[in-house]
Amino acid sequence: MNSNHPLFQLTLVRFREFMREPEALFWVFIFPILLAAGLGIAFRNRPAEVLQIAAVTPQLAAPLRAEKLLDVRQLSPGDAEAALRNGKVALEAEPGPNGGVIYRFDDTNPEGRTARMLADRALQRAAGRQDPVASTDRLMREPGSRYIDFLIPGLLGMNLMGSAIWGMGFAIVDARRKKLIKRLVATPMPRHYYLLSFVLSRLLLLVVEVGVVLGFGALVFQVPVHGSLGGLALLCVLSSMCFCALGLLIASRAQTIEAASGLMNAVMLPMWIGSGVFFSAQRFPSAMQPVIKALPLTAVIDALRASMLQGATLAQLTPQVAILCGWLAICFALALKLFRWR
């Protein structure tokens, strides 16, 4: 395409307008990284915590020290009770009648309950208890099953939605408000080029947006991408097109930024909450599931998670892809019918 082609010029203008808007750059590129970093740090996997407990006799303290997850301090009964009361220790063990043991702890405190189980297991085993069932622990700490692995596809989907809807909505309504659309329509510009230029500039920015979020996830948190990169790219393009169509529909008639902004938030809010960005959408009551499953963002996030974390192929994601294609077709057709060119 030569550089004087109207579609090239229109797309270039979209791109320039976006790049010269510092706020837009922040929300699209910096914000998702800050969010992922913040949540990643908050929900990072810490090594299992060692609990502090108190024992009042050396006979009790010695076998308890065999348990690595307990930090045992031997204190006088008075000191032990004070330490328990002000939370310095989670449990106090003291000798009971008939060579038994008494645990003092707050059973409403999870640390107290855990300490009770650990302490009792250590004492019983030291006294010669044999566990009849052999048990083996497998720790779930490898990449692909942590909260950050769940979160990154969610953030990516949310970002795809936000940038497409805001990008389309604000730019179109602003141009309409400034009578710029009317001025363009007064030239020989083919109208579909105008709409197409938004889609093309979105695709260009998409490469950067998706790259930033996935790159950050991979480099900082080793979030895996098990599915094929090509499939993931297609999925992102389809998602972005679907949200572009939704944004176009929202912007098709609005005359003011306020009206458009209200509409955009009304459309996006249910998806921010319901589509499983930060927690699984399965947590909503089953009666709501059909509605939640039909939302475009749910389909996007489900598909992204399946592709990135389970390596699902596009063929396995047919239901989600079908939902997205449906939204795309309906929104685009409606938007073209309703679009106000002045």
Partner: protein
């Protein structure tokens, strides 16, 4: 173009447009000849913008015919758009683009026309070519809008209130540019509510009021049709007697004497005879003059005479 030269560049017949309960254009007839600058003059709300936007194919008329360069909306839209240069009243071009980027964008829509830099030179914005649109003054923005209208080397230029809101210097600069386009043989239709603009730029003027043309002709013809050549206006200090207006009316060459805002206003045909006679009469009545003004009649006076209102009365 010998054949088209005989044809009207724009022909509007019995045009009608109603918005809800407001009749914006009410059975309008117009004819603009090739290579003439035609002005639609009228107060705000007279229907000028609706008329020009119907001619530009941006608004659909309720009824009536519009023929531009021998073509019609919407069937010939693609061909027409290539040949029209349009400047709208309220367009705000994107503030984040530079002048050159904006002109290149508009240039890309037209099959033929001068290069972007040449058009920028035409409107004397060379020094601002790399400036953001947001940093331009009002006059510079208006010249940029003009550049965007000129990129397709149009046969017909539509200018909707090209100088509204500009300072006098910027207005004069824009007038000079429009005069150059006139000399280049383009047909121009412009709307304005400035009578001096219409008088200076337009070969012919249609005065519009309430969606209708109430007067049509060259500015000179219009002025001659409704009033004498000159207007004289004076203010008088307090004198021993009340001013005798009837005696003033009796002077040869003086007509339509009336008071307006504390001064006295009259139409005068022969200034060099009437003014000495007027001064003599005022001296006889012992009136002390505080102010005396004469000016040639303008289109404003035509509008006032026809409607009893001023052009810029809201």
């Amino acid at each position: 173009m010998p054949q088209t030269a005989a044809k009207a560049a724009l022909r509007v017949h019995q045009l009608r447009k109603t918005y809800k309960d407001v009749v914006a254009v009410d059975g309008l007839d117009l004819e603009v000849r090739p290579a003439e600058c035609f002005g639609l003059l009228g107060p705000n709300g007279a229907g000028k913008t609706t008329t020009i936007e119907i001619c530009e194919g941006l608004t659909a008329a309720d009824s009536g015919e519009v023929e531009v360069l021998g073509l019609h909306w919407p069937s010939d839209a693609a061909a027409l758009r290539q040949r029209l240069g349009i400047q709208l009243q309220e367009t705000q071009l994107s503030e984040k683009l530079t002048v050159l980027e904006t002109v290149r964008l508009f240039r890309s829509f037209f099959q033929q026309g001068p290069g972007a830099l040449a058009v920028i030179g035409l409107v004397q914005l060379e020094e601002k070519a790399k400036s953001r649109v947001g940093n331009l003054s009002g006059g510079q923005k208006q010249r940029l809008a003009l550049a965007c209208a000129l990129v397709g080397n149009p046969d017909f230029l539509f200018l909707d209130e090209p100088t509204t809101g500009l300072d006098p210097q910027a207005r004069r600069q824009l007038w000079e540019l429009i005069e150059q386009f006139k000399l280049a043989g383009r047909t121009i239709l412009l709307t304005t509510h400035y009578m001096d603009e219409a008088e200076r730029l337009c070969d012919r003027v249609a005065i519009m009021d309430h969606g209708k043309v109430i007067a049509l002709g060259t500015p000179r013809e219009l002025i001659a049709s409704v009033c004498a050549d000159h207007l004289v206006e004076f203010s008088a200090g307090a004198g021993p007697h009340a001013l005798d207006l009837a005696a003033l009316s009796a002077i040869e060459g003086i007509r339509e004497v009336h008071r307006e805002n504390g001064s006295v206003r009259m139409q005068v045909t022969e200034l060099h005879r009437a003014v000495p006679a007027l001064l003599a009469e005022l001296g006889r009545q012992s009136v002390s003059l505080t102010e005396l003004r004469t000016h040639s009649a303008t289109l404003e006076d035509v509008f006032v005479t026809l409607t009893g209102r001023h052009l810029r009365d809201e």
